[in-house]
Symmetry: D2
Subunit: 337 residues, 4 copies
């Protein structure tokens, strides 16, 4: 997020805006915690994980009282435009203020679960951290001839699970888009394991990557698999690893800094030209709008549309959701051998 | 490249093909050095840099005698389809054999200088290695208050220079697409440096990133800048760093492994369905063809077209070349402050 | 371990020995799975985590029947000297064979819980992986103003917990050497947290690092702390992270490769000069023997003594155990602020 | 260095000292640029390369006029004790002020060329960065069957060259301690290369690591080797890589942070107990003094002695210099195969 902050701040400064930062998002906005942005410290922060300004979940925003206080801060500090970096909740908060101030949203969600952008800020860094973790787990698995069930982030969206499974050379992947029930999942994983050993009886490691949103938790999966393959693969030794906070944060990758900087650049320029309520997203398959004039890789979509589409995506209703399921079907066979 | 090899080999094996690897590319093909591919060692290799099969520049291929011997090997070993991973020269070699065997090209070029794909294999890893190097250089620059001129790969294509400059928060970038002459370049860099210090007199580091293809070498640039800013910035201490072999190789990033696996997957499936002479590329702005049916992110383009377009791109003649120059103009201002 | 294997193999080859590798340790030795070592593949493996030869826990070794079969393999393959890389169990296995073959032990234990060496192979890599994980956790903690309880490896030995806490700038550390009971631990952590906030009420992150061997599990610690500080620090948000398999494996650090190579070098040379049953360890405080003549940083200790001392160390009885407790007392205050 | 700053600052604060930081070392001291140290920003900085306070070479310090102005600042700001982090020049500067203020030196020199400490701050980080660079170079060398001559830091001290060569599995190393002349060096490298290919004619990569202080520059070495092996190894393709600024800076390793924190801790406690003029060093072979009472790994040595011993070491006169030459002889054969 800091790279996006730098991108927005540098361009804002070069366009002659006065820049302030709101501490801890909406919580700070309610409490009037607004401070000038120092470009040099923003510069230093861009290569660091987390966020320079802090983050907090607000219990009183968006309700009317919270909104009223936020508007007071905006008026008191004479803030004319707001750049909000975050996920679905943060973007909904931005829309709630769109009648009082121009708002630009930048998509930041490690799950990559937002519509109207092919990539959210933080996803590429998370992918690389997960792949490194899977490499280390594969070292252990190979040394001791083990099967690991690895759970990664992704409540409604299997993007990280699918991409990290392919990149890590995993033997199977479980994503929410596949919409399988528990028995189908267990049977599918068991067959993938049996097939892996049938092809290579000396195989030293099996990795199964699972998104957290899949309808079976990792420990249960292990137990059911242990029972299911007790006869067909009697020597198999299974383990569970849940990658949670361990793979969040960290120095952002080159792409994530580039993404943040370019989204921030386009968003601030669009605000400067009078745009009122939009999210800046990254082009890619499934994104149908044309690129904006500030960057051929950036697409601007009204916040209303972003929120509606993201809701549909989470409920599995939209064209994008159907399209994602199709990707799963098309890509999954890479894992077969 | 090893991840692409794994992707192609896994899918090939699952489709029932018998798989062989040719050592050291065309050199090995001329000499008949062909060996069975062991899936387990391919699996282990996928997370390593370089290439499992080796690489070598051939002096006798494509000339007729070289081609004749390559065809002999293909016939003798009963090879029906060839997957070639490499840059412009490798793809030209593939086309030369396309009448004797089905050929699929996978784009691998650290410079990202191939047409008909938005990303080549190796580029994302190089970007991250360069950004890490720039971070370390920035540490030194900040500690000692210095200006660094950093030369990165890119003979005809400024992709790596531009993206690493933005991701590193550099103060200026020099790319071949901008087509400036030496005096314009020196003047532009000097003004960027003066502007940087005018905005922040306590500024501790200035980074200027330059693609190797720009018409002034890094040492000359330093000398001319030293003379040019001798009076306006008397305390400035300038240094040159050329990032060459130091940023090649290395553990591939998550994206590079994903890219290799998905391009390899689509290429092998297309070969299995009878496609004869094509390159599998990654979608993105500037790529006008529709995605293939095997993966919504992969585009198949005839090799003839890829080679022709890449030639035009290098000469700066094509629509894509003009489009890239436009990107430079649109994106470069992010670096301003 | 692969770097140690390379060090031993390179030196062994240069001294004219014929080299074989035993697959999966004692399990492979029982089963006669012995294969020639290929120096080139050993070279490639040295920068990879895990072990080229595989590892497995044996249920039938050391019992007499297992030993008999191991001796049969040694005789059948005419193996004259054995280099064993591993922890306490592996070294005990080596001693059991010391009347049949010359044996050299190389200490490899991620917990750093072996006596007669200041560092074991794998510890420095684990330290760096833990510190990186703590950095990422600190990013999240700082963004959301949280306290994290982080459990790291170390059943009997708090080395990794203590060093990673200091290196990560943690606010408190819990190690088994301190021998505190549950109430003392909870009270100590609560006071460290209160003190941290008393000094800096805007403090955004608190990290508490805990070795797994400490007499309270991480989840219980969190629960008891939540109750204990409910009134004094009402806004504190606590989380638990257990770093297990996620921080094992991985590309070995420079020091770990150096350590493996130098221990392997000295061990093989000592075997070549007729030494029979010893471990090669790294010098450092608490190691009283003089360095060997092959390397001023390497100490050779009879296996009997290593096993006896390690047993005492684990029971907390030895001079080294007392000395480690003293270190804890002396070093821990670094964490105070 | 930032980790050392944090270690010193945390302990200083816990002992009740008021803490100030001097910007850019002696230059800032001359100019009175002294500012309060904020523990929170020191905490954040500890995982970053470079130095929070900045660094600069002074032209007017130590001469009398410079010293006079430094003493004025110390008096004006009522500074009672000074912690100086740096190499030989910085420690000499500290000694020059030892009659006016209590001074503690912390050894920081990427070359590891200071006496009275087995490790200086920054060395372990540099080792790891060099090893990573050598890994990447080895990927390229293996892919294209090349020999690389890699120059690393080390004017008078071959520590980094020797350790990185061993850790990288290089085939030869050149260090200043060996005191060979140009012809001996060329002949030695040529023979190592010939021996490497004699043992393994299919060998794909040869790495030769060279300290910058060795009496032949890398380009000349390459030219002379090309001539020397033109007949014996006609197909060899040699390249030169100089690792300079590219391997400085960067996120410090676990050990470097630990080292900085522990040296800083012991130094501040010793100052608190009235010590006047000393350097805090790390124990290890060749360090004869006993550990201090604050940390069993830390040795305190009078600054006079440190400077005298370091001078002798650089001139190759001391017992330590002789001992280092002996290490070279003992360790170098690890590289043979």
């Amino acid at each position: 997020m800091n790279a996006a902050l730098r991108g927005a701040a540098r361009v804002g400064a070069s366009l002659g805006f006065e820049l302030v930062g709101v501490e801890e998002g909406y919580v700070g906005l309610l409490e009037g915690r607004v401070r000038p942005i120092d470009l040099r410290s923003v510069d230093d922060a861009a290569r660091r994980g987390g966020t320079l300004l802090g983050s907090a979940r607000s219990k009183v925003f968006p309700p009317p009282e919270g909104q009223r206080r936020a508007r007071e801060t905006l008026a008191a500090k004479d803030i004319r435009a707001l750049v909000v970096i975050g996920g679905n909740g943060s973007l909904a908060g931005a829309r709630a203020l769109a009648d009082a101030v121009a708002v630009a949203g930048l998509p930041a969600s490690i799950d990559n679960d937002l519509a109207c952008t092919s990539m959210s800020i933080g996803v590429d860094t998370a992918l690389n951290t997960i792949v490194e973790a899977c490499d280390r787990i594969a070292d252990t698995a190979s040394a001791h001839r083990r099967t690991f069930f690895i759970e990664v982030m992704g409540r409604d969206c299997g993007y990280l699970a699918m991409t990290s499974a392919i990149a890590s050379g995993a033997d199977a992947v479980l994503v929410p888009e596949a919409e399988r029930d528990e028995s189908e999942i267990v049977e599918g994983v068991a067959r993938a394991m049996e097939a892996a050993y049938a092809r290579d009886s000396g195989k030293r490691r099996v990795l199964v990557v699972k998104a957290e949103g899949v309808r079976i938790d990792a420990a249960t999966l292990k137990e059911r698999i242990d029972v299911r393959v007790a006869k067909t693969l009697p020597d198999v030794d299974t383990r569970v690893t849940v990658l949670g906070h361990v793979v969040r944060g960290g120095t952002p990758t080159g792409f994530d800094r580039l993404l943040g900087a370019r989204l921030g650049n386009a968003a601030v320029r669009a605000l400067a030209e009078g745009e009122q309520s939009f999210m800046a997203g990254w082009v890619g398959p499934g994104i149908t709008r044309a690129a904006c004039k500030f960057d051929p890789y950036v697409v601007l979509t009204p916040l209303d549309e972003v929120l509606e589409e993201t809701g549909r995506l989470m409920r599995g209703e939209s064209a994008l959701a159907r399209w994602r399921r199709k990707i799963v079907e098309e890509i999954e066979p890479i894992l077969a051998r």
